[in-house]
């Protein structure tokens, strides 16, 4: 039941690169990552690719397959016609390291800019009590496998290098929403979401939600509610006064 597929693979590094054609054998039940591995074992032993779990759990094998941002380990070969050329290229929004591997450090930088969970000061370990219904909202966002497909897709940064500095991207705006909805988080994150992490850039196109392999409703459940909370807060005159007193950028002080 095997057949020969036509693969077109981007090969190169940060300086130059090209699409290279490879005929390659495909067996029943295989995914794109299996085919990449077969290429490594035969014609292209130095073909660079990231992967770990091969089951959609680690978010390592992100790439663009026929132009669509996807996980290679969860893309079945039977979704393509046998005579169709399958083109695989690295994520477009991040700089290429080699072949299908990109430099995703942008995401780690953004992760570090979101202030961490602020535990309630008076609660000891073992004393946390939360209801299932209350944790479920944040749990949905914690399903994120950090594949960065949403970060790669969002038009705010996809072809706009200049926006990268001011925009955390859907994954990390969602992280702010997650902490904001955590039943016990003691911090206030709304102003910072808007002013420091670029929530205002998002014009709710939902492209991020469409590519999320975990089917997280990033826009509907995280970004839109966060925007609503920010708006509610902005018109509260007392809080507005509070914001004036603390200097900008002093996120921790503003939260107390």
């Amino acid at each position: 039941m095997s057949y020969w597929a036509r693969f077109r693979v981007w090969r190169g590094d940060s300086e130059k690169g090209e699409l290279v054609d490879y005929p390659v054998e495909v067996n029943e039940g295989e995914v794109v990552l299996d085919v990449v591995h077969r290429l490594q074992q035969t014609e292209a032993p130095d073909l660079a690719v990231r992967w770990n779990c091969k089951a959609g759990k680690c978010g390592s094998c992100s790439m663009e397959i026929n132009g669509r941002p996807r996980l290679a380990c969860m893309t079945r070969m039977n979704t393509f016609a046998e005579d169709e050329v399958v083109t695989i290229t690295p994520l477009r929004t991040f700089p290429v390291i080699r072949d299908l591997v990109t430099d995703v450090s942008f995401n780690y930088t953004k992760a570090r800019e979101v202030p961490a969970f602020a535990p309630p000061p008076d609660l000891k370990p073992g004393e946390y009590r939360m209801q299932q219904v209350d944790v479920e909202r944040s749990q949905e966002f914690r399903k994120c496998i950090e594949c960065y497909l949403c970060q790669n897709t969002c038009h705010v940064v996809r072809d706009h290098e200049e926006n990268k500095q001011h925009f955390a991207g859907p994954r990390y705006l969602m992280r702010i929403a997650e902490l904001d909805m955590h039943p016990l988080d003691a911090a206030d994150r709304k102003r910072a979401a808007q002013e420091e992490h670029g929530l205002g850039f998002c014009n709710i196109t939902k492209c991020c939600t469409e590519v999320c392999p975990e089917n997280i409703k990033i826009t509907d459940n995280a970004l839109i509610p966060l925007k609503e909370r920010v708006v509610d807060r902005k018109y509260d005159p007392l809080i507005w006064l509070g914001n004036k007193i603390f200097k900008r950028g002093d996120v921790r002080a503003a939260k107390q």
């Binding site: 590094d13 067996n27 029943e28 039940g29 295989e30 995914v31 299996d34 490594q40 074992q41 032993p45 130095d46 073909l47 660079a48 690719v49 990231r50 992967w51 770990n52 779990c53 091969k54 089951a55 959609g56 759990k57 680690c58 978010g59 390592s60 969860m74 079945r76 390291i97 080699r98 072949d99 591997v101 430099d103 995703v104 780690y108 992760a111 570090r112 202030p115 961490a116 969970f117 535990p119 609660l123 370990p125 073992g126 946390y128 009590r129 939360m130 209801q131 299932q132 944790v135 944040s138 749990q139 914690r142 399903k143 994120c144 496998i145 950090e146 902490l179 955590h182 988080d185 921790r252």
Partner: protein, 643 residues
Amino acid sequence: MTASAATSEEIEHHTFDVVVIGAGGAGLRAAIEARLQGKRTAIITKSLFGKAHTVMAEGGCAAAMGNVNPNDNWKVHFADTMRGGKFLNNWRMAELHAKEAPDRVWELETYGALFDRTPDGKISQRNFGGHTYPRLAHVGDRTGLELIRTLQQKIVSLQQEDHAATGDYESYIKVFHETTITELFKTDGRISGCFGYFRPTGKFVRFDAPAIVLATGGVGKSYSVTSNSWEYTGDGHALALRAGATLINMEFLQFHPTGMVWPPSVKGILVTESVRGDGGVLRNSEGKRFMFDYIADVFKNLYATTEEEADRWYTDPDNNKRPPELLPRDEVARAINAEVKAGRGSPHGGVYLDVSTRLSPEQILKRLPSMYHQFKELADVDITKEPMEVGPTCHYVMGGIEVDPDTGMSVVPGLFAAGECSGGMHGSNRLGGNSLSDLLVFGRRCGLGAAQYVDGLDARPQVQEADVVTATERALLPFTTAAEGGENPFVVHQELQKTMHELVGIIRKADEMELALKKLEDIAVRARTVSVTGGRAFNPNWHLALDLRNMLLVSMCVAKAALERKESRGGHTRDDYPVMDPEWRKVLLVCSAEGEDNVRLERKEQVPMRPDLLDLFEMDELKKYFTGEELGGHRATAQEGAK
């Protein structure tokens, strides 16, 4: 490449107090502790930060918090762990683990973890094989993701604190991801540093540090059917051996009973035990729930003997015994193996696992979402309607670096180990859920142990420059042999996997293992001369060429120890010695390195279990595992104590 080229290489140089190799649960928890003790700490990982194997753990993290059944406590957890490991466990580790696991789990909540809840708002706990009470803290079937993300976010949180204090996020903790360590350095018998390469560039890096914590995970990539990823090449095991440390229990490998069997490309990928914990049953091709036929003598009276009683247990666990589907993993894996061999397997060589008859589609989607996803997307099977086909897959190595239970230090001063790469805690078989808790308990202990060790040093051992040159040359060897036309490393790797899978697999025989050892020697020769194409930047065939050396050494340990142990116990089943022998319970097989590609095996006596811990068991049960001599002695001490 010549020696002169190796000396002229520019090598990035860092100095730390503690270097942690591995960014899974064990490594991250160790690093957090070292930093909390005020140590400048490096975290090194082969893949990206947040992608270590721990991310794949599904079912949960065992800790006797007693949230669901208040009868649970550390003593019950300890006893279950010892029983699961067939009493070969290092009892001190099992004791520390059972006592400290609840604190380690509660601590995660203060880092921001969000576990599933009980109706009264506590952390929910689920049933798992071998655990007397519902004990596994979990988040659906993605507990490992929650654990690693929480620890990762705690590291970020500490870095934010450091940034606030010093203006530099990395003043105390620095993560070097996509960096592979290939060599440890010793000076005057103590750890002085390590050496490796950055995967993206292929450039070399050296870390000078008096304490190194190995948290490198397992060895499954030496087998062709495995739930493990490319990272599991036994690097930590091999690094430790070459540095003069010892490995114990290497004959014990856990074959998880339920891996996917179809399609071929996903063969081996794990199907979580939660499927059975939440009510899934195993049937053969005749529709029979065969596990009732496989309740071993030592487990008689602990498991239900009829389907009716087993079914009642799900709703009334206090008055019924648990279904035999929840026996420890080694028992279930052997049973499935036997059913398939007897011709009662499913079309693709497994058996059926069905959860659709007990749980509604909504419940399945809620409790087992990633299993639903996995089967739907990878096998076109809807587990809310139809059974899955499953069979054993190489999953976990019980064996590992021999360490001091309290501090995690190996026999080499300054070298520590925690998590899957350490040995002893799980004896001959690990209970599900006991790994995640092990990572937290002993990760923390290693971080602490390393910090205290560093504090106790008068002077830091200096790395010898000559050792750096040797390490560089060794790492570049596959490029040298390229010119001489060696083999493709992928081919040699497949040969190794096939050898281990076929000859040192679930059921073992002396002649097959002898053959395996011969083959391994041959593969070792071939591995030394594999050649690679391409350059040094992100080049998978170079990486594999280097990993092969580790896999070989570890496979040698597994095969030698398995041949030596003439009994069947836990994750070691001998066709020619099918019964468990109390005389062997007292014996640990200890491996140490002999040259580049060989290992030496020695026998060592187990430390007798502390009497107060022995007293946690019924004498009738102990008699199944211990020799009369050992128990006679115990009774004597107990009587003396009473006097």
